[in-house]
């Protein structure tokens, strides 16, 4: 049973375009939703995160949209740059249990 479904598996975007990655979850106990960015040879690093009491959070070119009723959230990267090429993971945290469940990851390639 896959608790967190992430799509697409891979994504190719032209420089300046918008990259969109989606995640859906099932467990209503999840109450914190971070996105991580991972470059080759490095561990994942926190990019942006949202709590379910807000529907959107923006930090620079990165925005999370959150739909609590649909149990879905997405990462939008505006004005995508070649330096954004990386693997992106969504995560769902149950802060009471102290654990995170991760999506399978999306490999983003931004072409110059």
């Amino acid at each position: 049973q896959q608790q967190v479904k992430q799509s697409p598996q891979s994504l190719i975007v032209q420089k300046g375009g918008i990259s969109i990655i989606n995640c859906a979850y099932e467990n209503t106990a999840f109450d914190y939703f971070p996105w991580y960015q991972q470059f080759p040879g490095k561990g994942p690093a926190l990019l942006i995160a949202i709590r379910p009491d807000v529907s959107e959070k923006k930090e620079g070119r990165f925005t999370i949209s959150f739909n609590k009723s649909a149990k879905q959230f997405s990462l939008h990267i505006m004005d995508s740059q070649p330096g954004d090429s990386a693997t992106y993971f969504c995560a769902c945290m149950n802060t009471n249990a102290g654990k995170s469940t991760f999506g399978d990851g999306t490999t983003l390639t931004v072409k110059p």
């Binding site: 914190y32 971070p34 102290g98 654990k99 991760f102």
Partner: protein
């Protein structure tokens, strides 16, 4: 900045060997985690620990054990390594259960 250090970047071992992967964090974090990362499967939780000498099984604990004798150090042990344990292993820590995790850069383990 939080630093999570994994002792080896690359490790090659033989089938049946006992393997130790070490992880140290420098921020006095209570919670520490071990994941394995495989292509297309995201990050899967092996074990986690929320205090010294405490441990909890994650989603895929079979074939692994852990040790946390000091707060800053969390060790993953492969009791008798098998080829299906060839993978990237990531350690993470967090101070509170409602905070995102900080990851090390991983140990790429090959079992021959």
């Amino acid at each position: 900045d939080v630093k999570v250090t994994q002792s080896s970047r690359y490790l090659v071992k033989r089938t049946g060997e006992k393997v130790f992967l070490e992880c140290v964090q420098d921020m006095d974090h209570e919670n520490m985690f071990w994941y394995r990362q495989d292509p297309g499967l995201g990050l899967r939780l092996i074990y986690f620990s929320y205090d010294v000498k405490m441990k909890e099984k994650g989603d895929i604990p079979e074939g692994y054990s852990v040790s946390r004798e000091k707060k800053e150090r969390f060790s993953l042990i492969l009791e008798s390594a098998s080829t299906n344990q060839t993978s990237m292993y990531l350690c993470a820590s967090t101070g509170w259960s409602n905070q995102p995790q900080h990851f090390g850069d991983g140990t790429r383990l090959s079992i021959l």
